[in-house]
């Protein structure tokens, strides 16, 4: 089975290549060519571009952390400082204690030490704050940023407030990188390499998990994503990029002092990301460039206009940032692509020529065996009893419907069955095991997949990528392999599975549309495809037919019928009685949190208690 990497060649044949060379790639080539020519400029500009590159490296991390994953850190400058001080301390062999003298001056050892220390500190901060809600990470990083700034200033072995000066030049093997233009190539090589790695990461299984963090955490957890781990990964990557920038900083400036690593600089990095456009990797380079050029220009011109007193560039900068937030909160790159670009188009994943190997499937339990069971399930919210002593059992190869008027407690029941909520009393058993204390992720890994009453998807990701999130646990390429593009075989198998499930629910033609552009009915079908992608043995569907047209409902009923034939167990909550009664094997009726009837559809329909619940007392 040969794997052909997806590329534009498969879209329209060689003749179309020239036309379809994406604008981003043209831009990238132009950028690299322009960059290569920078060292021909006067030294002043080379220094400026070195600074832009150093900042862009940090801002790439901010884009990943803030723009993509939706977390805010003020401590990036402190991580730069960690990397820089570790490097400076090791590079200036005089400051080293005797037992470390052997490592003195080694840039590789310095890089390793900087990254390790950063990893430890960021790891500690991450473990402490990332399980908590949004404000603890900014706070933790602010506190760390301030604390570390004062630490750098008070440690005499780190030079105190005067810093460490006269550091040696970077010696890589036989090369000595002494001059600015030599560092320039190294800095920008690392910027481009990091950008490439992050680009690869975002277009992979781990990257989709990170992208799901911004607004889709509960859904991602139900798809088996380890939300905490994904957050930690994004945070650590951003911190490591900052630390790498610190390493380069030392060899570019040959001097460190605490000043460039304070909280204000941490805020500057955030500004750069927001100015450039925090949602795109491009924004990092554009933002760092604009910010540093504008700052340089303002520092040059403002004193000439207003005189020397006062800190005018801080005022002008603040006003500019506020204007950007008012007029273009998506940043310059976001604004440009909205105004002049082809509109936002999600990454396309064309089907490869050769079919990818199918993913391994879970053996389904024997037909008729009990797969999911609720025993005396009770859920109280304060004084309200949403579920009271509910018992039900779901068997392999059957479709069971839970019906009831609005507010009967059906969704509460659903959330407990899928471990999104914990019962106040009673227990849920999955394949004969109690799931007490399990997380949504654990039960997803054990083979339960669900959809949501209020559709939960990532509106700006393509339909295909949304569905692929469902298969998160079925392949396991890690972060590093994704960044280096070594995950393509697994990725192709995963996307082939997603494509297959999309076709099954009838959305095959919409694979490359932004998920937010689908109609509500189609979004529900997308959720079903996503759940099927997880290869579940039990499928929980919350109002799957709501918002679907008649033909779509028939197709969905046919699909559910086929799944039943294959031996899957399906539990659905639904209000459309025609849909339910023609399809399901058994019906459970819940009213005011209590199960009142369970039985065959026909028997339930004529049951007087059910009629009373739905239509009021009938004489």
């Amino acid at each position: 089975m040969s794997y052909v990497p997806p590329s534009n060649l498969h879209d329209g044949g060689p003749a179309a290549v020239a036309r379809r060379l994406p604008a981003a790639r043209v831009l990238l080539i132009a950028l690299v060519l322009a960059l290569a020519a920078v060292p021909l400029l006067p030294a002043f500009y080379v220094t400026l571009f070195n600074n832009i590159g150093l900042a862009a490296l940090v801002v790439l991390g901010v884009v990943l952390l803030t723009g993509v994953a939706g977390m805010t850190s003020f401590g990036q400058a402190a991580f730069v400082g960690t990397g820089a001080y570790a490097t400076a301390w090791i590079a200036s062999a005089s400051a080293l204690p005797a037992w470390l003298a052997w490592a003195g001056g080694s840039p590789w050892f310095a890089l390793l030490a900087g990254l390790l220390v950063t990893l430890c500190v960021a790891g500690l901060l991450g473990v402490l704050t990332l399980r908590l809600s949004g404000h603890y990470l900014p706070l933790g990083t602010i506190a760390w940023g301030i604390a570390v700034y004062y630490l750098f200033g008070t440690f005499q072995s780190l030079g105190g407030h005067n810093g460490l000066a006269n550091l040696p030049a970077l010696q890589l093997g036989a090369w000595t990188l002494e001059r600015g233009e030599q560092m320039f190539y190294l800095i920008w090589l690392l910027v481009l390499a990091s950008g490439w790695a992050l680009h690869n990461l975002l277009d992979s299984r781990s990257g989709r998990a990170i992208r799901a963090l911004n607004g889709g955490q509960a859904m991602a957890a139900s798809m088996g994503v380890d939300v905490f781990r994904a957050k930690l990964a994004a945070f650590l990557l951003a911190a490591l990029l900052a630390s790498l920038s610190g390493w380069l900083y030392v060899y570019t400036q040959r001097f460190v002092s605490p000043t460039p690593f304070g909280v204000n600089q941490g805020i500057d990095y955030l500004f750069m990301a927001l100015i450039g456009g925090a949602a795109q990797l491009w924004g990092a380079v554009v933002g760092a460039g604009l910010f540093i050029l504008a700052k340089d220009w303002l520092q040059d011109w403002l004193p000439r206009i207003f005189g020397e007193t006062g800190n005018f560039e801080a005022i002008v900068f603040g006003v500019l940032i506020i204007l950007v937030m008012h007029r273009a909160p998506t940043g310059v790159v976001g604004w440009l692509s909205q105004r002049f670009g082809p509109g936002r188009t999600p990454v396309r994943h064309p089907a490869p020529n050769a079919p990818a190997a199918a993913l391994a499937r879970r053996p389904l339990p024997p037909r008729g065996s009990t797969v999911l069971e609720a025993r005396g399930l009770t859920r109280r919210f304060g004084g309200l009893v949403a579920n009271n002593d509910i018992n039900l059992a779901l068997h392999a190869g059957e479709i069971l419907a839970v019906i009831g008027p609005n507010g009967a407690g059906k969704s509460t029941l659903f959330n407990q069955l899928s471990c999104c909520d914990m019962p106040s009393a009673g227990e849920v058993r999955f394949h004969g095991r109690s799931v007490a204390g399990w997380s949504a992720r654990q039960i997803a890994a054990a083979g339960l997949a669900r959809t949501f009453q209020h559709v939960k998807l990532l509106p700006r990701m393509s339909v295909l990528e949304n569905v692929a999130l469902g298969a998160h646990l079925r392949v396991r390429p890690g972060l590093a392999r994704s960044m280096l593009r070594l995950d393509r075989l697994e990725e192709a198998r995963l996307l082939a599975e997603a494509r297959h499930q999309l076709e099954r629910v009838g959305l095959g033609a919409h694979a490359h549309v932004e998920a937010g552009n689908l109609s509500l009915g189609q979004q529900r079908l997308l959720e079903i495809a996503r759940a099927l992608c997880a290869d579940p043995s039990v499928l929980l569907l919350d109002e799957p037919a709501a918002g679907l047209r008649h033909a779509e409902k028939q197709a969905l009923a046919a699909l559910l019928g086929r799944l039943r034939e294959e031996g899957m167990a399906v539990l659905l909550v639904e209000h459309d009685m025609d849909f339910v009664m023609g399809l399901v094997d058994r019906v459970v009726v819940v009213v005011f949190g209590e199960k009142i009837v369970e039985g065959l559809p026909a028997a339930v329909q004529s049951d007087p208690r059910v009629l009373e619940a739905y239509l009021g007392a009938c004489a």
Partner: protein, 343 residues
């Protein structure tokens, strides 16, 4: 350390703790109503302190010019939309401009240096408090429904602008105002400094007033309703824009008052407010950005820790204060069940 020093440090700690608690309260208030983390809170503190010190040193009240500028800016920003509707901007905006002009004229003609301290404090509040709603209208109201991150960035940017303006207005020299009253109070062996008593007394009074405001007045209840559920409150006819202005006015009031209170205790510079407010923020976060009493307690604790670490390890004072939150974060992360904030 003997008990005398401990008592002294405890007093200092309680004094700054009380200030941090006030700031923590107003940060929680503004955050819960507008979702804005009010980073510029510290600038209101600076303004209050500098206004007092400036008046006592016989300097012109430059803050009144800032107020005038902000009032004019808000009016100018409202003009295009108003002209499109062929109407003049709301009377309120003209009123604010007239108020700013009147205040400026008044301040230029009063013998500021000779006025009683209470009048000076009132004038300082009269200059600083209206800036709160003005800044809300100019900076935050146009993006009131934006992503919380956008609000945060705008808030940080505003902080940068105000610090820059502050340097322009007050210069780089520090300033300190005169104490409110002379002698302290001797209780047995313990002598309480007069200013400490003032700070703690005013803080307690303000806390009681805020408690009464939020529990027993319609306006206070409307603000609380907005904090609990913005959309629901709006559907009940509570204007969220008004709630935003009111919360900013309260924040400016509390900030300015804090500045007036600490101005005699410590020399403040044009940018000192930020670090002070940041400690209030740390206190606020210990209350989970939601609980007022816990936030106040946390802020008080930070004041005490700061004061004692000044004695034992003054070089590491800030390090100790800010790393103190790590064990606290550990405790939170072990006891809190993960809850997602949907953006």
């Amino acid at each position: 350390m003997d008990s005398q020093i401990a008592l002294l440090l405890g007093q200092d700690g309680l004094t700054s703790g009380a200030i941090y608690a006030l700031l923590a309260l107003s940060l929680v208030l503004v955050f819960s109503i507008t979702r804005v983390l009010l980073v510029p809170q510290g600038e209101f503190v600076t303004f209050g302190a500098m206004a007092m010190a400036g008046m006592q040193a016989g300097k012109p009240a430059t803050l009144a010019w800032l107020l005038l500028g902000l009032a004019a800016l808000r009016l100018a920003l409202m003009l295009p939309a108003a002209l499109r509707r062929r109407r003049l901007p709301a009377a309120r905006s003209w009123g604010m401009l007239a108020y700013a002009v009147a205040l400026l004229l008044l301040l230029r003609n009063l013998p500021l240096q000779q006025l009683p301290m209470a009048v000076q404090a009132l004038l300082a509040l009269a200059m600083v408090v209206p800036m709160g709603p003005l800044l809300y209208d100019i900076v935050f109201r146009p993006i009131a429904s934006a992503h919380a991150l956008v609000l945060l960035i705008a808030s940080i940017a505003l902080h940068g602008v105000l610090v820059g303006v502050s340097l322009l207005m007050f210069g780089a020299e520090g300033a300190r105002s005169e104490p409110f009253s002379g002698n302290g109070l001797a209780l047995g062996a313990v002598t309480f400094k007069a200013q400490t008593l003032w700070v703690i007394g005013v803080t307690l009074g303000l806390l009681l007033a805020l408690y009464a405001f939020f529990n027993h007045t319609l306006l206070g209840k409307a603000l609380r309703a907005t904090a609990v559920q913005r959309l629901g409150a709006e559907l009940m006819g509570i204007s969220t824009a008004f709630a935003g202005q009111a919360s900013f006015a309260l924040a400016a009031f509390i900030g300015c008052l804090s500045g007036i209170l600490i101005a005699p205790l410590t020399t403040l510079y044009f940018d000192s407010g930020f670090l002070i407010a940041l400690k209030g923020f740390v206190g606020a976060v210990t209350g989970g950005m939601a609980s007022y009493p816990v936030a106040a307690l946390g802020a008080g604790g930070i004041g005490l820790v700061e004061s004692f670490s000044t004695f034992w390890a003054s070089d590491y004072k800030e390090v100790i204060v800010f790393t103190l939150i790590l064990p606290f974060l550990l405790w939170r992360s072990l006891t809190t069940r993960h809850t997602e904030e949907e953006a």
